[in-house]
Amino acid sequence: MLLIRRFEEALIAHNPVGHLSIGQEGAIVGACMALRDDDYVTGTHRSHGHPIGKGADINPLMAEVFGKKTGICKGLGGSMHLTDTSRGLIGESAIVGGGFPIATGAGLSIQVRETDQVSLCFFGDGAANQGTFSESINMAAIWKLPVIYFCENNGYAVTTSVEKSHGQPDIARRADGYGIPGIIVDGQDAEAVHAVTQEAVDRARAGEGPTLIEAKTYRFDEHSNRLAIPIEYRSKEEIEYHRNERDPISLYRATLLSRDLLADVERIEQEVAKTIDAAVEFARESPEPDMEDVWDCMFSNPINFPAYEGEL
């Protein structure tokens, strides 16, 4: 959790791009900790945290957000697309709702190949209004695919509140319409998230099909720190309340201290600070990608487009 927080704080300081997950780390890490390295994950535009939760190396992630050649996607994907396939990530969709079918397809693949992996689809409250949500979950339900649909419900899609965009505000209740379990959990409580995700993962591995989990969480920062928002769609008091009373990291730190783990907490805090400093350094010093990288990444078997390749 702390690694995600510090990663994004470093971005605010050094390379201000993109959509931050600050405030949502409990949901992200609680879910990821229930997964094995070889379990699949699809992410969203707000996906700095997902690869970190899955244990990806920090340097290539940081370099990617900086657009560098040493980035995990060679500087071609960027902030919204930190895909580390070595940790089971199979793409982050900046097209809202793009991940539902992909995660479902990974579930199909697991079933056909008869492995005991699972596939977890992170999505936002806003994404639940895409047709792909309904169409994909229904397929997973009828085929009993090992998929966990994990909603980080942070209350808003850009400026649009859940109340103004959903017929009823509990996304997990929609599970009933597909005949699968739907579970609501406090997304600011990492251990609670972990427990319900673990249960869903166990069900999926046992061939009992998909689960829809809704973690109620909160985005502390703006939708994207590159987009000016001219209206006040949520009150300052609401934001302050969540920052002060509902910060998943402060809450979990308190839990750990109550278990007499101060020394461990401090050690982790120091390690995280070092890791992030080193990653910023690495990203800064890394070279820019070349136009050849752009061409090389287009096809598995590069087809010869002499007329175009020479062009730029």
């Binding site: 960027g78 697309h81 209004n129 047709g131 899609a157 959903h166 990608p289």
Partner: protein, 323 residues
């Protein structure tokens, strides 16, 4: 207020067009995601939530809702914000909006406007940076607009709202902030299907598609310094295309460079080149040059991204080949 002007940015001009048309005709409504964020907050205040609809993230369906409303008496403007989201709605745009009039023997009409912005040169990577107007140029039944100035944006959008056919209106995010004097005449329309000669010249023709215009004009300026007079045509409307203006110019200059930020294969530039080859082959003194985006996706890295799009230098390079 007739015949006076006000300084407006390209985006403000679009909002003004919407305001004027909503004032003029109560059947005009506007739908889209987070509409207040993209400049339309004042319209929400003026027209209220009945006519200004904030939609869930359901592109295919809310465009379809726009089609249904258009069939039954409204004139909806649907804001698809970023052009890559057109793909999600392409079923309703292509299979429904573009075909319904034809398939019902012209019983139905679809006075729908889809607004969308090409969001490139902005470090948002491949899923946000597309300029998909050729896809819709290739769809019969749609009118496709791509203005490059605030005045044209206003006048063309107003014409689109009053048009009885489905229109897809491409904005260029790189132009959104550009200000110029825009007429306050509420009935000043820019006709759909007319290109604009932005600079006249006799040595070569540069046809600029969509947001490429500032680069084309900058290149023409450099050439003028060298004694080469380029004629610069702003296409403005992609469908229906103003062949006449282009052919007249090429007949005079014999040399043609087309600047288009869409992917080169099957681009608007390709279509213009084909038309000129078919209809004015004899006037050409040199091969047609296309300055377009190669067949790669748009990388996140800003410096690489920039090289894939039109620039004064890339246009000059193409001009040097034929001059």
């Amino acid at each position: 207020m007739r015949n006076s002007v006000q300084k407006l940015s390209y985006l403000q001009a679009i909002i003004e067009a919407e305001r004027e048309e909503m004032q003029r005709d109560e059947n005009v409504i506007l739908m889209g995601e987070d509409i207040a964020v993209y400049g339309a907050q004042s319209l929400v205040e003026e027209f209220g939530e009945k006519r200004m609809r904030n939609t869930p993230i359901s592109e295919n369906s809310f465009v379809g809702v726009g089609v249904g409303a258009a069939l039954t008496g409204l004139r909806p403007i649907v804001d698809l914000t970023i052009a890559s989201f057109c793909y999600l709605a392409s079923d309703q745009i292509i299979n429904q909006a573009a075909k319904l009039r034809f398939m019902t023997g012209a019983q139905l009409k679809v006075p729908l406007v889809v607004r969308t912005s090409t969001f490139y040169n902005n470090r948002t990577a491949a899923q946000h940076a597309d300029r998909p107007y050729p896809l819709f140029m290739n769809t019969p039944g749609l009118k496709v607009l791509a203005p490059a100035t605030a005045s044209d944006a206003k006048g063309l959008l107003k014409a689109a709202i009053r048009d009885d056919d489905p229109v897809i209106f491409f904005e260029d995010i790189n132009l959104w902030g550009k200000k110029e004097d825009v007429s306050t005449d509420v009935d000043l329309l820019v006709p759909i299907g007319k290109a604009a000669v932005k600079r006249s010249g006799s040595d070569l023709t540069i046809v600029s598609v969509a947001g490429c215009l500032p680069h084309a004009l900058a290149a023409a300026e450099v050439l003028a310094g060298e004694g080469i007079n380029a004629e610069v045509i702003d296409l403005r409307t992609i469908v229906p295309m103003d062949k006449e203006t282009i052919l007249t110019s090429v007949a005079k200059t014999g040399r043609l460079v087309i600047v288009d930020n869409s992917h080169k294969v099957g681009s608007v530039a390709s279509e213009i080149a084909a038309v000129v080859s078919e209809e004015a082959f004899e006037s050409l003194r040199k091969p047609i040059q296309r300055v377009a985006t190669p067949q790669v996706h748009i990388p996140y890295n800003g410096a690489l991204e920039k090289r894939l799009f039109a620039s004064k230098d890339r246009i000059l390079e193409a001009v040097r080949v034929i001059i």
